[in-house]
């Protein structure tokens, strides 16, 4: 098996699906000729031609809107929005049409398409380039929203997303695009959308994270190595639908629950997950469910961003507090 970065793994998934299924098209701002700002789609235009891999104008509403049209007409578009913060001009199409086709046709047909974009900060970028918008998409009925944390998951989830009969928002944690490599099978494989993964089993506290926060939580766990705290780390992988079963079973076992999210605090995924735990595992709780999050501010620019983002120290601190509650 080849050692791939998360970015390479997405590229491979796109390549393999395009090779297998001529309906798959890939496009976005700079996604064609240049292979994307981060090189996720590198090499695809050369291989599959300008009809299937192409650049768009800087017009996100057109990108998301045309994906709907293509999907209705039999293609499987994989549309790229260049950055998280650029989703907003295309948001109307996503929320008011894309998400509603299955419902609008009374279940008749959905839109087999993927909207993918890099998310999150930590790369010393500029404004609109560092945002975590899980809530803004996970909140919308009719959208599936996934986010991988490893190269292996990235490939498996991307293949599942392309094969899904309904729209899938595929968020790529850009901070870990190239941070680390993992063995990724050459063959195509699928990771079911809506299934979380227990990264590490433990008995004292359940920590749910996703995307780039998995790595930060693992660093926190390393810091706590000599503290005799058994952490169960769950990679949510799918923002919507939420894998209730995995989370609730884990909390029933540990009695303690922490959510780590890069997104700002208020109304974030952490709030939803804690509500879920309160609804379904209330009688098992040994400690108040807690969340480690960004602050309720616009993501700071380069100089300040690391003060804003969740650090392994903050996660470790909360784990200790929750276990000692």
């Amino acid at each position: 098996m080849a050692l791939l970065t998360l970015l390479d793994a997405i590229n491979q998934a796109l390549d393999q699906k395009m090779s297998e299924d001529s309906r798959v098209v890939v496009y976005g701002e700079d996604a064609g000729y240049e292979g994307g700002v981060f090189r996720v789609t590198a090499g695809l235009q050369k291989k599959y031609g300008e009809d299937r891999v192409f650049d768009t104008p800087i017009a996100e509403a057109a990108i998301t809107g045309s994906a709907i049209g293509m999907a209705i007409n039999g293609l499987i578009p994989v549309a790229e929005i260049q950055f998280d913060g650029f989703v907003f001009p295309g948001y109307t199409e996503i929320v008011t049409h894309m998400a509603r086709y299955r419902n609008r046709t009374r279940g008749g047909y959905g839109l087999p398409l993927v909207v993918r974009f890099p998310v999150g900060g930590g790369i010393r970028a500029l404004e609109h380039h560092s945002e975590s918008i899980e809530t803004l998409l996970g909140h919308i009925p009719g959208l599936k929203v996934v986010i991988p944390s490893t190269p292996y998951d990235a490939k498996g989830l991307m293949i599942s997303a392309i094969e899904d009969p309904d729209p899938v928002i595929f968020m790529e944690p850009k901070r870990i695009y190239r941070a680390g490599k993992q063995e990724v099978p050459e063959d195509m494989y699928r990771i079911p959308i809506g299934k979380a993964k227990v990264v590490k089993e433990g008995t004292d506290v359940t920590v749910v994270a996703w995307g780039a926060m998995i790595r930060e939580t693992e660093k926190a766990m390393k810091q706590l190595e000599d503290q005799n705290i058994s952490v169960e780390l769950i990679d949510l992988r799918s923002i919507n639908p939420i894998d209730e079963e995995t989370i609730i079973n884990s909390v029933k076992k540990t009695g303690r629950f922490i959510v780590v999210q890069e997104a700002v605090k208020s109304y974030g995924p952490g709030a939803e997950l804690i509500s879920l735990v309160n609804e379904k595992a209330f009688l098992y709780l040994e400690a108040a469910p807690a969340r480690v999050t960004g602050f309720d501010i616009t993501v700071p620019l380069t100089k300040g961003e690391m003060y804003h983002f969740v650090s392994p120290e903050r996660i470790a601190h909360q784990i200790k507090r929750t276990v000692e509650f």
């Binding site: 098996m1 050692l3 390479d8 590229n11 700079d30 000729y33 240049e34 292979g35 700002v37 981060f38 090189r39 590198a42 090499g43 235009q45 050369k46 950055f83 930590g122 790369i123 010393r124 970028a125 500029l126 380039h129 490893t150 190269p151 292996y152 998951d153 498996g156 850009k174 901070r175 870990i176 695009y177 190239r178 941070a179 680390g180 490599k181 993992q182 063995e183 990771i191 993964k197 227990v198 089993e201 079963e245 995995t246 079973n249 029933k252 076992k253 009695g255 209330f282 009688l283 098992y284 709780l285 040994e286 108040a288």
Partner: protein
């Protein structure tokens, strides 16, 4: 000298290829002029000179790869010091010229991606998470906290609630403190405005605070009152008090009253008892240690007369005086304060007719003795001057009923009314 490194050019290019030099060693360069074109992922970045000066050294040939931190060029700008790099940051701009179509190994053009070759453990989807049966008992967070506060391991409790949920009641039972106050009373602070002085209370006062609070917290009090004509007792005492005085004994009414109380206690043993609320049992005491509330200048102290049932009235009188004196002088021994079975308080000593005494927990009753005074009483249809003794009896109403209290007090009354009965017993 100016060491111009390939660094942050504002958007964090990680590495690049030197595409074209605009100058060679020895050339003069002006600040802002393009020094070199560096090829990154998708753009060719023109790097402008940060200073005026003469090119002293180039960091590489055209076609060489350079990484962030590598020296691109050294410029003699006339200064002997190196200028900090920060200054140049904002001046640089990248321009999208000949975009690259390839370059997988190069990172992004926007932001600084962390690039590592760290190998992650491989994912194994096949070893999926087994659902482990939870070993936790069901309980609300409130119940868990209660168990923790009470020092009970909630995991060991079998719950009586829905689906075996551990209820608060289960926890009380488990801790054998079923009837313990569920919520400890909050201490209340006092805020007073005006000219006040704050004085710490003595240890004795703290003990009184605690015992009184405890008694009133735990025991549901009820007090009954009556009065009796004790002309015969007054007469008896007057007749013998001189002889007693000759033996250096101050014969007080209290000695007679204690005698009467002991006789009544023998007939009604549940007044010489305690109630164990944990075991839900009465504790009958086979000894009679009669406590007397003694007023000292520091506060109330209740020593007791040990084995009062085995003592004559004269012996009691002598002991009452001795214990009271030692108590007032604060010389009373600890054992004299312990293990009281029934207490008497003397309102008369404070010139009071009556009061509602507070039971000395864990006792179950206390007798209040009022001031003996001559009053106009109707006796056999005529108004006569008579000596009257008011009595009040507080009972623990959990274990003593009002009728029992009446019978007990009646017994005392009859003995004091006919004091010869005291002597015969």
């Amino acid at each position: 000298m100016y060491d111009f490194k390939f660094a942050d050019i504002g958007e964090g290019i990680h590495e690049g290829k030197i595409l074209k030099w605009s100058f060679k060693v020895g050339d003069k360069v002006k600040e802002g002029e393009t020094l070199v074109v560096v090829e990154t992922d998708k753009v060719n970045a023109e790097l402008p000179s940060p200073v005026d000066g003469i090119i002293k050294k180039l960091g590489g040939k055209e076609g060489d790869m350079i990484e962030v931190g590598d020296t691109i060029v050294i410029i003699d700008d006339g200064s002997s010091e190196e200028i900090k790099e920060d200054k140049k940051e904002e001046k640089k701009e990248e321009k999208k010229e000949e975009p690259l179509s390839e370059g997988e190994n190069a990172p992004s053009v926007i932001g600084a991606l962390e690039v590592t070759s760290e190998v992650m453990a491989s994912s194994d989807e096949s070893s999926s998470h087994k659902d482990i049966e939870s070993k936790k008992v069901l309980a609300t967070p409130v119940a868990r906290k209660l168990a923790k506060d009470m020092g009970v391991d909630i995991q060991t409790i079998k719950g009586s609630g829905e689906h075996g949920r551990v209820m608060k009641e289960d926890i009380y039972q488990a801790s054998e403190q079923k009837l313990a106050p569920k919520v400890e009373r909050q201490k209340v602070s006092v805020s007073v405005q005006g000219d006040v002085e704050y004085v710490p209370i003595t240890k004795l006062r703290k003990a009184i605070v605690n015992s009184m609070t405890k008694a009133k917290d735990i025991i549901p009090h009820s007090t009954i009152m009556d009065e009796i004509v004790i002309d015969k007792l007054v007469d008896l005492r007057n007749r013998v008090k001189e002889q007693a005085a000759a033996e250096n004994i101050k014969l007080t009414y209290m000695a007679f009253i204690i005698k009467a109380v002991v006789l009544a206690l023998k007939e009604y043993p549940f007044f010489n008892a305690s109630y164990d609320e944990v075991k839900e049992q009465m504790v009958y005491k086979k000894f009679y240690n009669i406590g007397m509330a003694v007023d000292t200048k520091d506060g109330l102290i209740v020593p007791n007369i040990k084995d009062a049932d085995q003592k004559s009235i004269l012996e009691l009188a002598r002991e009452i005086r001795g214990v009271a004196d030692r108590t007032i002088e604060r010389k009373v021994q600890l054992h004299e304060l312990q293990n009281t079975t029934f207490s008497i308080t003397n309102f008369g000593a404070s010139d009071l007719i009556s009061g509602t005494p507070i039971i000395n927990h864990p006792e179950v009753a206390i007798l209040g003795v009022g001031k003996i005074s001559q009053r106009a009483m109707v006796i056999d249809g005529e108004i006569k001057a008579a000596y009257v003794l008011p009595l009040s009896l507080s009972i623990d109403h959990r274990v003593i009923d009002g009728a029992d209290a009446g019978r007990f007090l009646t017994k005392i009354k009859s003995l004091l009314k006919e004091p010869m009965m005291l002597l015969l017993n």
